[in-house]
């Protein structure tokens, strides 16, 4: 059983990690992150990069939907804005990787602010539909503004340029993406230790009384949209460098649903939830593939079943979590923590 932790300063009491156990977990996790590229084969490195990209974007959506309570189905479209920006910049300028990604984030943030304007008037389901509308408009722009977006063919992306080195292998990209994602996640966690994060949560819980407490709603809702789509834009930029081509089919509405599902499964309004949810949802197809491989000696034609099983499992997971664990995997983790804190007493 854990006895209460005694902190001597307020700074220690409000730190992101407060106990030795938490530091130990973080150390272990950091070790795994550093060791992974030396241990994993190329395919798993590919997945690790994809996880990093998806965690960044899901964390962004979690700020908007999980913490500010503004449901958005536009995260895919914001990622596309970032990806197109990076693709265009990589072709037209020789600017370094980090500058392009930052630009991708900023352009996406600007588009996010525009899309967020209706959020002052509509919320919930209506806002979700409004963001779908915005996605459709953006999709139309990507398809038809051929001089910039390359129309239906899309754009090829030149390899990421990091101080003269081209980042082409998954090993190199891993070292570029993971630190960016870690920084973004830490930034999001910090946000909720300050007045800005509190204002977001206040808007989610009771927007009308938030206003009386001195929070200008429009400003903070747009700020939440801007931060969230900045995250999406940076993730989209990484995505562009990862797949090296961006087209109108790269980010569909399914992509947006994927991120919403990721934060529901992981846990809305929890930083850990965004990380776990995005990781889990990215790896589910792989787990299923593994299962199908195991079954293949016994089931004829198992390979052909993979695709439908994947789709059904994806949908079923969302439904099961909504019904049985609406707080997501993060809540399960909290329960396990409580169990060990109180052991040998029952929770």
């Amino acid at each position: 059983m854990r006895i209460a932790t005694a902190n001597e300063t307020y700074l220690a009491d409000e730190a992101l990690l407060r106990t030795r156990t938490q530091w130990a977990w973080l150390g272990l996790f950091a070790l795994v992150l550093v060791a992974a590229p030396f241990v994993l084969n190329n395919y798993w490195l590919y997945l690790a990069c994809l996880v990093a990209i998806n965690v960044a974007s899901a964390t962004g959506l979690n700020i908007l939907t999980g913490y500010t309570g503004l449901v958005s189905l536009g995260q895919g479209a914001f990622m596309a804005v970032g990806a197109y920006t990076v693709a265009w910049l990589s072709q037209k300028t020789g600017m370094p990787f980090l500058v392009n990604i930052l630009a991708g984030g900023l352009v996406a943030a600007f588009v996010g602010i525009l899309v967020g304007i209706p959020s002052l008037r509509v919320k919930g389901l209506y806002l979700a539909i409004a963001t779908i509308g915005a996605s459709i408009i953006l999709q139309f722009v990507f398809l038809n503004w051929s001089s910039v977006t390359g129309g239906a063919r899309g754009l090829a992306v030149r390899p990421a340029n990091f101080f003269g080195t081209s980042l082409t292998t998954y090993f190199q990209l891993y070292w570029a993406f993971v630190p960016i994602t870690v920084l973004m996640v830490v930034g999001a966690a910090n946000l909720f230790r300050t007045r800005i994060g509190r204002a977001f949560i206040a808007i989610r819980d009771r927007d009308i009384s938030a206003e009386v407490l001195g929070i200008p709603l429009l400003r903070y809702k747009l700020m939440s949209f801007a931060v969230s789509s900045f995250y999406a834009g940076v993730a989209g930029g990484m995505w562009a460098y990862f797949f090296r081509a961006v087209g109108p089919e790269s980010f569909t509405i399914v992509e947006s649903i994927f991120f919403l599902a990721a934060i529901i499964v992981g846990g809305m309004g929890s930083i850990l939830g965004g990380i776990v949810g995005a990781t889990f949802m990215t790896l589910v197809p792989e787990i299923l593939r593994f299962g199908v491989e195991l079954a293949s000696p016994y089931v004829s034609n198992a390979g052909a079943l993979l695709s439908p099983i994947r789709t059904i499992a994806f949908g079923a997971l969302i439904m099961l979590f909504l019904v049985f664990e609406p707080q997501g995997i993060a809540e399960i983790i909290q329960r396990v923590r409580r169990f060990f804190h109180l052991w040998p007493f029952k929770t």
């Binding site: 409000e14 007045r195 800005i196 509190r198 204002a199 819980d205 206003e211 407490l213 001195g214 931060v227």
Partner: protein, 280 residues
């Protein structure tokens, strides 16, 4: 120590508010003197909460003015009023359920803080310093003061009703109030909780010097702690004065209990006026 906030004077001048044909507030005027406790009472539907909502900026009255230390704030946006020093609690507790007690209280200071989004993401320099100063101040001046040390890290959803009301008062105090608007601070509380809350309200007045305007149904508590009482009925002021005077006022007795005179009641019904004021 606590930065002294000068208590504000609030003047309500000829305020009228109607929803369609319904006059919720009809030409109401009264003053709230700096550093005093003024109670706004009246039967259900008298317009007390509408009055509060006008003062905090939810409703835009059609006529009249609300003046805060002489400055007209009738059309001022609610977040700006918060910054000027309006703080309020709500009848049906408006705490943020997803946050701990401490975060709820700190949220009250929002309008007076400066951290911007970039500093917040980095939690460096200004952001960390501002948070720590706020924490120290909240601990010293508010959490100790309201005796809620033991629950500071608890989620508000887990608290009893009486404690939630106290946390809401704590959050209002964190707003650096120059006028504190309390909407039914002891509604639904048992006797002990009511006495605690009454003591805290008196302490706020004495130690912080804040001007307080409250709506309350608990007459015992109102009569005990108010300096001044304003009675509303059907959107109009029917009496005002010291607690003792108001209690004796025949208009007030009639509004609360009926006049006890069937003839007067029949006359009122025949005249078609619903107001107790004219009849009694």
């Amino acid at each position: 120590m606590r930065a002294p906030m000068t208590p504000a004077r609030l003047e309500i001048d000829g305020l009228s508010l109607s929803f369609g044909g319904l006059k919720a507030i009809n030409d109401v005027s009264f003053d709230v003197k700096p550093g005093t406790i003024t109670a706004l009472i009246g039967p259900n539907g008298a317009g007390k909460t509408s009055m509060f909502n006008c003062i905090s900026g939810f409703y835009k009255p059609q006529h009249g003015a609300i003046r805060f230390d002489g400055e007209d704030v009738t059309r001022t946006h609610p977040p700006l009023r918060a910054k000027m020093g309006f703080a309020r609690t709500f009848q049906n507790i408006a705490l943020f359920r997803g946050m701990t007690v401490l975060d709820n209280i700190k949220l009250g200071r929002h309008a007076h803080m400066k951290t911007n989004i970039f500093q917040a993401l980095a939690y460096f320099g200004t952001a960390a310093r501002e948070e720590m100063d706020l924490r120290a101040e909240v601990e010293r001046d508010i959490i100790d003061f309201l005796e809620i040390n033991h629950i500071r890290h608890m989620p508000v959803a887990a608290l009893s009703y009486g404690l939630q009301k106290r946390v809401e008062l704590a959050r209002a105090l964190a707003m650096r109030p120059r006028i504190l608007l309390l909407d039914e601070p002891v509604a639904g509380m048992n006797r002990e909780e009511t006495e605690d809350m009454a003591r805290f309200i008196l302490d706020v007045k004495e130690e912080w010097g804040t001007t307080i305007l409250m709506v309350e149904h608990d007459m015992g508590m109102v009569m005990d702690i108010s300096d001044h009482v304003v009675v509303l009925n059907f959107g109009q002021v029917i009496a005002r004065g010291l607690p003792g005077e108001v209690q004796q006022d025949p208009n007030v007795v009639a509004a609360y209990l009926g006049s006890g005179d069937p003839a007067a009641l029949m006359k009122r019904l025949a005249a078609g006026t619903s107001g107790g004021a004219e009849a009694a």
